[in-house]
């Protein structure tokens, strides 16, 4: 057993950190304030650095690197900006990966290559008003007419929506079939007639990542854009989320790391009662707990990522990593705000943004309760 990153993984971390600190961090607070998705910075630049297709083979426009590299990239981006982290995670794990896993050769050439190269941005539409944690509740329908499928329905809370060029969308293709059967996945291009965007959410955190509704009104999608066989959409979604959890766990890890560093920097400068506040054990013990939890989260995330690349089963590990890392992010960012005192509560300092950003990691791609459900079910099977 070896707990060391490879030279390539170290170089990647240095590169992404330098990019994140010099280019992403300076505008993070302002983008948050203005709910501004800066695609040129938050996506196009990632493409230029070869980060938009990290785990896919070179023949599909990827970098041919492993899942640990992917985790590192999302972690480092999220360390300074949770919104940029999720942009990459949703693009890669939720849209590009199902096309890689389930797509035909033609679909991969047409859609995966531009996604991986970073010329097309991806999004994933599963959630609906009545289908949240219970993805089987999907009501969007797709009805076959000749060589086309006609989609009707609404998806909500979709990350990257509006700006994304390519969408993987789940719809019910068989109304008679049992809940989890009869759902199929489709690749839908932005601009397809009958496909439009609804309201943009006003959010607590990750405010520079756009979250929007997808609206399908008699939207005709060619049969060749069905992703995977008819009726296996639920499986496509679950496999997609297994990988996605590594992305969100990495996002949570990065946010927690950023808050930990901010807290260390601040508390080692701040003086009260004629002392550095770190001289108070009540403060240094908090830092110790935060650092310990962040380190535990990191090991869990990298372990799940390692298993994904080694083609070992990893849905249990990624659920655990996502659960632990997201709850760590929430605890650590809340503690960081506490350690900053009143300053931490203001927008002068980044920790309040980190705390707002952290919360979503306990909710999307399966709430913490759903992760426990997944983990518990596997334990008691």
């Amino acid at each position: 057993m070896k707990f060391e990153l490879t030279e390539e993984q170290n170089l990647l971390r240095d590169m992404v950190r330098q990019f994140a600190e010099t280019e992403v961090a300076p505008s993070a607070a302002e983008r948050d304030e203005q709910e501004h998705f800066d695609r040129a910075l938050m996506f196009d630049r990632l493409g230029e650095l070869g980060l938009t297709g990290i785990v896919f083979p070179e023949e599909y426009g990827g970098a041919g690197a492993d899942y640990i590299s992917y985790a590192i990239a999302v972690e480092e981006l999220s360390r300074v900006c949770g919104s940029t982290g999720v942009t990459l995670s949703a693009h890669l794990s939720l849209c590009s990966n199902p096309i890689y896993l389930f797509g035909t050769e033609e679909q991969k050439k047409k859609y995966l290559v531009p996604l991986a190269e970073g010329t097309a941005l991806g999004a994933f539409g599963l959630t609906e008003p009545s289908a949240g944690s219970d993805a089987g509740g999907t009501r969007t329908t797709a009805v076959r007419q000749g060589d086309e499928w006609i989609l009707n329905g609404t998806k909500i809370f979709i990350t990257n929506a509006g700006d994304a060029d390519t969408y993987v969308v789940l719809a019910r293709t068989d109304k008679e079939a049992q809940k989890h059967h009869g759902i199929s996945a489709f690749i839908v291009e932005k601009g397809t007639p009958g496909f439009s965007f609804g309201k943009k959410e006003k959010k607590m955190g990750i405010r520079s990542s756009p979250t929007m509704e997808l609206v399908f009104e008699n939207c005709r999608v060619p049969h060749e854009n069905m992703l995977g066989e008819e009726g296996i959409g639920f499986k496509v979604a679950m496999k997609t989320l297994d990988g996605g959890r590594i992305g969100i766990a990495s996002q949570a890890l990065g946010i927690a790391q950023g808050a930990l560093e901010a807290a260390i920097n601040y508390t080692t400068q701040r003086e009260q009662f004629n002392k550095k506040i770190t001289a108070f054990q009540g403060v240094s013990f908090q830092l110790a707990d935060m650092a310990t939890q962040v380190q535990a989260a990191r090991l869990m995330v990298y372990n799940a990522a390692y298993r994904a690349s080694a083609h070992l089963s990893y849905s249990q590990e990624s659920a655990m990593a996502k659960l632990f890392a997201s709850e760590t992010a929430m605890r650590v960012t809340t503690q960081a705000v506490q350690l900053f005192g009143g300053y931490g509560y203001t927008r002068e300092f980044p920790v309040e943004r980190m705390m707002r950003d952290a919360k979503i990691t306990e909710i999307y791609e399966g709430t913490s309760e759903v992760q426990r459900l997944v983990i518990g079910a596997a334990l008691t099977r």
């Binding site: 030279e7 170089l11 990647l12 650095l49 690197a65």
Partner: protein, 256 residues
């Protein structure tokens, strides 16, 4: 055309340094390592020349096994191959010995242009490049902030004290040492990091290059005494502003 760029691995300058037990260098354990900043300008310039002319570019680094990681960054930035002069004791060598190793390797290779950083961030002697040039019998231009190549001639800009710039010409072969402001080093993209893994990395033992004897010996390394913060400029606002501008120009690159 054949190019050589010499790089050094140095600790992250934000590390918390401790003096080593021998009292003449810093403790090398528990540090994060990176490419010497000035060497990044050297690598970037060399890669630009390679891209413009199709020249062949070798990166050289002297040090223990761990420097290979930094060499891979140079390979990911665009160098064609690496030469690792394996030397666990490189941090104890004086600038002349390091220069002698570079010269011993480069002597019979016929490099047309050699790039180095103007100094290292840890030792900061600024001597290695010029000494290597001397040993190789090459003209050296130091602290360059501008570079142009035409035929077998280079025209470089040097920055002198007080922001004055000088333009210097030299005929190849030549050696230049690179200064902040020369260029903006590119990021090693992930695909290039992955490709660097497959590039040739030759190892040569330092002993096989028979390094010269040291000319200098570090006797003691100490931390500077803690000083009170900063300089206060007092007086008439206009005059204070003029002095501030002068200081910024002379001591920093803010107003280059």
């Amino acid at each position: 055309m054949k190019l050589l760029v010499c790089i050094k691995q140095v600790p992250d300058m934000e590390s918390k340094f401790k003096i080593d037990a021998d009292g003449v260098w810093y403790d090398r354990s528990d540090l994060a390592w990176r490419m010497n900043e000035y060497d990044e300008f050297a690598v970037e310039q060399a890669v630009q020349v390679k891209e413009a002319t199709g020249a062949d570019l070798t990166v050289l680094c002297i040090g223990p096994e761990q420097v290979k990681e930094t060499m891979k960054k140079a390979l990911a930035m665009g160098c064609d191959r690496g030469v690792h002069i394996a030397d666990d004791q490189s941090h104890r060598r004086d600038p002349y010995q390091i220069a002698s190793l570079i010269a011993a390797f480069a002597g019979d290779k016929g490099f047309d242009l050699i790039f180095t950083g103007m100094q290292s961030q840890d030792r900061g002697s600024g001597q290695v490049g010029v000494m290597a040039a001397e040993l190789l019998g090459l003209p050296a231009v130091t602290t360059i902030v501008g570079f142009a190549l035409a035929g077998d001639k280079i025209t470089v800009k040097r920055e002198l004290e007080g922001g004055v710039k000088a333009t210097v010409e030299a005929t190849l072969p030549a050696l230049v040492t690179c200064q902040l402001g020369l260029n903006t080093p590119r990021y090693p993209t992930l695909p290039n990091i992955m490709k660097a893994k497959k590039k040739e990395l030759l190892a040569v033992a330092a002993a096989d290059l028979s390094p010269a004897d040291a000319l200098l010996q570090t006797v003691k390394l100490t931390f500077p005494e803690k000083k009170g913060g900063g300089v206060f400029l007092e007086g008439d606002v206009g005059e204070v502003a003029d002095r501030l501008i002068r200081i910024l120009k002379e001591k920093t690159s803010v107003l280059a």
